[in-house]
Each structure stands twice: as structure tokens, then as C-alpha cells.
Amino acid sequence: MERTIPNIPKEKFNFVQKNDLIHDKQLATKPRGYMADAFARFCKNKGAIVGAIIIIILVLAAIIAPMCTPYTVKYMDANYKSCFPRNELFVSLPFWDGCEPREDNKATFMKYYAMGLETGKNAVKNQEYSLENDMYSYRLDSVHSVGAEYVSLTFEKYEALQEYQNRTGIQVLYPVVAKSDRPQVIDGRKNDADYYFKTTTKGNKINIVYDENGDIIPVYDYYLATQTPNDGYNSLRIEGEDGFINENGQKCYYSYALPNSTGYEVRVNYYEYYVYQHTEVLKDGITTPSFLFGTTSEGQDVFTCLFSGARFSFVFGLVVAVVNFLIGAFYGSTAGYYGGKTDLIMERITDVLSAVPTMIVITLLKRHIDAGPATDMLVLFIAFFATGWIGMASTTRMQFYRYKNQEYVLAARTLGAKDRRLIFKHIFPNALGTIVTSCALVIPSMIYTETNLTYLNIIDLTAMNMTTVGTLIANGQENLTTAAFIALFPAIFLALLMLSFNLFGNGLRDAFNPSLRGAE
């Protein structure tokens, strides 16, 4: 039975409650998109903001810091190994001043104390110490405690060094000690240049001889002013240093060089010699040895190593995350959108891949790939590309399952949208929030795994003149009893990074999926 409804004329309509006021207001607020909404939610989360700020600071530090320091990862100084961290702002305080708190017997203490007496470069901080039960407590400056070194120079280098001394007025060369007066220790360091004073040796033990006032007795090599000096060079002295008068009333000069097979053996204050080497000879921008975060047991600058390691970690995390995002999103959307048999087969493949421990992938890759020094780097990237995208793929797949049967997709399909359009235009943007979140959460876990692998020395980037946070922590851990500070800053860095990424990632997740808050 068909019934036609004739057009009802307009004037026949009238309001039911014409006299009542309409209380509803028209919506005056601006419509807000999904992203803006998520951003507003994110900004409300204080922890996430703090996390984001810390991440930005760390990333900036990783970009800028290696440029600000003259040191490189390759830089190593054999004499400045395991130096304590030194911050110029903390020099007057008893920490972070580049000094090691020590408690020693008199012989050891005097060796360091005498360095300051000779050169004015105080190995014992401010020459301050306290004496208790014959044990001296003091703070030992890591840089100055290297003291003097014997160095072999050719005549030209020797002259250049003298010219530098005369020009700047900085004393680098100090009088040598005759070989017979040096402490003769059977093993350990023979020719220890720090002993410029009288000693006796008994077995491996060096005893210092004191005069009646309890002072050390210098035993510099010297020659009579009337003799020809060993080095055949008279103007060796810095102005004002004019030898001395010996007990027989004869004028004597100190000898500053002993001839040896290749040239001269001179005794230098290593600190000044280092400054001279870097400013005059190598000209590599290094002025004074001062290590903000200390040095490793190989003599590398921890500050430089840490931030170039961090730079690598960030680049690594980002590259892996982007590649995994691309692979995972493609794989996951294919599996999720088509479902059925396609999904089943693809799922089995990811099942197998995800069950392979990373360690196996890396070991086998390392043995099968040979790219010279770049092998480990290549292996690291390939290993993470190979299995890292699985999480991303399953997230994408889940999102596709959630959205693909919704009405709006059906509507679009009815209107004739192709698969590709449905996937990329209609479903994927909706799933993007979740996927981006899992991307952000994946970066720290990548960095963490990378740190673990380098810590375990399974991946070793030193062949490429690179270092990583893990390598540094391993170095500190190996020297835990003597130089734990090597690991201090890398460990702080790693902990901060993980913490801030966690806060940031959780904030992001809460912002994109408010319904998931607190669950995990």
C-alpha cells in the first residue's frame, strides 16, 4: 500500500512552545582537531613536558658538545690516563676539582709534594695535607701528579723548545738527574723523572733521604761554569736562572740535557711540555689538559667520548625508528587490512622472526659480513632493521583491525575508494597516533639495547674511531676500584635519557589514547 505525502505548506508548521525561551546556546568554541587535542592533553602532563625538555637538552648537547671541545675520540694521552673530572668552577671546592682524595705514607706523599716544590705546579692540591698516624691525607691533582718525564729530543726539537721557553718565559725544561742518582728499581718504572732528590733504593722500595731540617735534597746534574756543558749549549737557562756557587766557591750550571743515542734526554715538566706540544707543535686547538668528565683508562677525554657516543646513539635510534616505522607500517597495514590468509602467513613470519634472540642475529651477521672496520656498525644496523619493525607492525595491524570494519570505511568503499586510498587516506591517519607513540617508545629501547651490546663488547666501534656510552660504562666498570668516575657521567646520561624518554613516551601515549592511561 502506497501512500503519498503531499507537501505540507510552511505556514502550517508552528512551534510547540513558542513562549518558552530556548536555553541552549549555539556552540561558539572552535572545533579542534585530533592532533591539537592530543597536543593540549600532552601539555597538561608535567612529567612528559619535563621529559621532552630533558630530551631536547640531551640532543642539543650531543650535537653541540663535540664541536666545543678540542679533543676528539681518537685523542689519547698515555700520561693522562684515568684523570679525575675537573670543572674550573669547582676548583676551590673539595669535589669535581680534578683531584683524587688520597691517604699515603710519607715516601709516596713526599714524591708528590716535591713536585709542587720544584715547579710550582702543585700535585698535592694547594700543598695542603693533614697528618695522622704517619699517614698523609691530601687531594692529588690528576693532571699535575704526572710530574716530570724524561723525553728524548733531537737537537732541532730541543732548540725549538728552548726558543719557546725564552719567548714565553714558561719553564718546561728542568735540570736532569744523573743516571747514577736516579732510583734504581728492579721492575716498575726505571728512570722515574719525579725523583730529582736524593733517594736510596732497597729492593723495589724507594726511600727518600732528608737533610737535618727534614727537607729533600735535590741531586741535579751540574757542571762547572768553566767546563763545556754536555749539550754543548750555553744559553740553556731561563733568564734569572744563573746556576749556583758550590761548596768550593766555584760557579756551577745545572745541566738540562744528557746526550743519548738519538739526541738528548731532557727532563720536562709534563704539564708544560703537553701545553707546548699541543699549542706549538701539533696546533690541534688543545691548550691545557683539563678534562671536565675525566679521562678513560686509555687516556681519552670522557666528555668528548660521551657526547660523540650519544650523538651516535641518537642517530642510530632515529634511523632505526624511521626505517622500522616504514617497514612496520607497510607490513602491518597489509596484514591488518587484507586479513585472512595473507594475515595468517605474515603473522607466522613475524612469529618466527620475533623469536630469534638478537644475540644470534648479531653473531651470525658479524661472521658472515665483512666490511673491514665498518663491519660492526653495519651489523648493528642490519640486525635492528631485521627484527626491530615487528613491534611496529603488530601495533599497526591491531589498529587496522580496529578501524577497517568501521562504518566510515564502509562508506568510503561504497563510494568506490580503492584499497590504497582506504589504507592511506582513511585508516592509516586514524592509527597514526598510536603508531607514533610506539615509535617514540621504541627509540629508548633501541638505544638501550645498543648500549648493552657495546657494553658486552659484542659490537665494538673503536675500529671506526667511535665510541659509545656502553663502551665508556664498561671502561668505568673494569676500573671500578680505581677510576669508577669514568662510568659516572655516562651512567647519569643513560639514566637521564631512559627516564626522560619513558616520561615523554608515556605522556605521548596518554595524549593520543586517553583511554589507555595508567594501564600497561
Binding site: L456, L480, A484, A495, N502
Partner: protein, 336 residues
């Protein structure tokens, strides 16, 4: 019946996955250059004997006149067959080659010898971690949004974020080196149940269990708060139960449903140990063995341990899924 089928299906899938990984691993290893421990001066027949014993070649015949050797290469798939046959008939996983301390020792025996420290440390860490984690989680859930909860929350976030690498380092530096409460590395020897041994294991145990304490706390809190706000709790209270009665009898039991499988999974998972912690505290366990097998390219060890780690990882996953299925039939992971 449905459950039985489900378990069977999961088991089948697991075995399939494991076999694929195992075979791939085996083939890839056999394609690597062969490590022979004969010195250059040794007679050639030692080398050939070694190669034959390791299954690479067969039918070695020495030509007595020319002094040359002829042999047949064994195809990789036949090598795999031989390897599997030996495992199943004689329990023979091969012998150590390039690791000096285990050279010519049966791989399986060494592995079994290395197992106790790893397992013990993980059992201890579970024994400490589970009660503390659950306790803290329950406490936090009961005091939801009060300062105690906030404090626990902050601590949990810190603990979860702090990498075990950093945490192990802190424990080692402060507790072992500065305070000297524990030795820096684990005591060697086989007296696993003495006080000294336990003490030397404690730093590693502590470093391991902190992460899991945080995870348990977080999970328990989330589950329990959800249960506490559900309708049946209201019913229990209206029925006349006190708050503690209702919590213990109804909320706790219900929240244990998802927590228990998690504990089980974590327990199986930690069986494989933490390479980091084992390395840091010099624990003579499976992890250390694995690392040195990797570094010195001892193929038989690598094969066995890779299989072990893969199997542990797979079984942890499957046990969680299956126990979920048993405890809460609404959840059937992986079932359609």
C-alpha cells in the same frame, strides 16, 4: 576439549617456530669458515680427523704413495641430520673447540655445569622480587592517589627507567666497593648453598630484582585499582563485608588472575638470565658461557646455547598465553 586443542595448537606453532630458527641457525653456522684447532706443524691427518669428527667431511682416504688425501664433502642437510640423530640417540651436542678452558669437553656437560648459578640467581631474585612487588602494588592501590601512592609511583618510574646496567654499577660501587658488604664478584666454586656463596650472589640478585619489583608493583597496582572500582566490590561491601574482607577475598583474588601468568612468564624468562648482570658480577653462568662462545666462535656451544635461549623465550611466551587461557577463559591469546 577446546582448551586441549588450543594448547596443542600453540605447542605445535612453537615447535614449528623453534625448528625453523634452529635449522636456519645450523645452516648459517655451517656456512662459516671452519675452525680447526690443529697447529700448522701437526700432521695433516689430525686436521682431517677433526673435520671428519665434526661432520664436515667423510670417507677420508690417504693415498699412501703421493701422501694426498681424498674425501667427500657432507651436504649441510645431511650434517643436520647427523647432528640431530646424535642429539636424540646419544644426547651428544658436540664438543668444545676454540674455548681453551672447555676444549674437547662435551658441550652438554659444560652447559649443565654452568646452569646452577644462573638459575639460582634468578630464583633468588624472584623470591625477593615477587613478594615485595606485589606488596607495594597492593599498598599503592589501597592508598590510591594519596601521598604513599604518589611516592611509590615516582619510585616505580625511576626503577623502570633506570637501566640494569646503571643499577648494577651503582650496587657494585656502593654496596660492594664502598661499603664492602658484599664481594665485588661472585665467589667461584660449586658450594652453591653456603652462606658465603649466597652473600656473593646477593648484589647480582639485587640488581636483577629491582626492575622486576617495579614491573610487578606497577602491574599489580593497575590491576587492583581496576578491580577495586568494579561493581562486585560494591556488592561485597553492601553485603556487609568490611573493607579488608572485601579486598582480600574478592579484589585480590580477582586481580591475581592476570598477575599470576605474568609472574610465571617472568620466571621462565629470567631463566635465560641477564647477560649484563652475569658479565658485570662475573657470574659463572650460562650468559658468560654464551658470550665467550660468541667471541671465540665455538660453534657447538653457540648452537646449543642459541637453541636454549630461543626455547626459553618461546616457552615463556607460550606459558603466559596458555595459563591465561586456563585461568581466564575469556582471554585466548592468538585464538581467533
Amino acid at each position: 576439549m577446546y582448551m586441549f586443542k588450543y594448547v596443542l595448537k600453540r605447542l605445535g606453532l612453537m615447535i614449528m617456530t623453534f625448528s625453523i630458527i634452529f635449522v636456519m641457525c645450523f645452516v648459517l653456522i655451517k656456512m662459516l669458515p671452519i675452525v680447526v684447532s690443529a697447529a700448522t706443524g701437526d700432521a695433516a691427518d689430525i686436521m682431517y680427523a677433526q673435520l671428519e669428527a665434526r661432520g664436515y667431511i667423510m670417507n677420508v682416504v690417504r693415498d699412501p704413495v703421493a701422501g694426498t688425501y681424498t674425501f667427500d664433502n657432507v651436504p649441510v642437510m645431511i650434517q643436520l641430520g647427523n647432528y640431530l640423530t646424535r642429539i636424540f640417540t646419544e644426547g651428544d651436542f658436540g664438543i668444545g673447540t676454540s674455548m681453551v678452558q672447555f676444549a674437547n669437553q662435551p658441550v652438554w656437560d659444560v652447559f649443565v655445569e654452568k646452569l646452577p648459578p644462573t638459575i639460582l640467581i634468578n630464583i633468588y631474585s624472584s623470591l625477593i622480587g615477587v613478594p615485595i612487588g606485589l606488596g607495594l602494588g597492593i599498598f599503592a592501590a589501597l592508598k590510591k592517589n594519596k601521598w604513599q601512592d604518589q611516592l611509590i609511583n615516582v619510585v616505580v618510574i625511576l626503577m623502570i627507567s633506570l637501566p640494569s646496567l646503571v643499577f648494577g654499577l651503582l650496587v657494585q660501587y656502593f654496596l660492594c666497593f664502598k661499603l664492602q658488604w658484599f664481594p665485588i664478584t661472585m665467589k667461584s666454586g660449586y658450594d652453591y648453598f653456603t652462606w658465603d656463596m649466597f652473600r656473593s650472589m646477593l648484589p647480582a640478585v639485587l640488581s636483577l630484582c629491582l626492575g622486576s619489583i617495579a614491573a610487578y608493583t606497577r602491574y599489580t597496582r593497575a590491576e587492583l585499582t581496576e578491580v577495586l572500582t568494579s561493581e562486585f566490590m560494591l556488592l561485597a561491601r553492601t553485603k556487609g563485608l568490611t573493607r579488608s574482607q572485601a579486598t582480600v577475598r574478592h579484589a585480590l583474588r580477582n586481580s591475581m588472575v592476570p598477575i599470576f601468568p605474568m609472574i610465571l612468564g617472568e620466571f621462565i624468562g629470567v631463566l635465560s638470565g641477564s647477560l649484563i648482570i652475569e658479565q658485570m658480577f662475573s657470574i659463572p653462568g650460562v650468559g658468560g658461557l654464551y658470550l665467550s662462545a660468541i667471541n671465540s666462535l665455538d660453534y657447538d656451544f653457540f648452537m646449543l646455547l642459541s637453541g636454549f635461549y630461543t626455547l626459553v623465550g618461546l616457552s615463556a611466551g607460550i606459558i603466559v598465553d596458555i595459563s591465561y587461557g586456563f585461568i581466564d577463559p575469556r582471554i585466548r591469546m592468538g585464538a581467533k
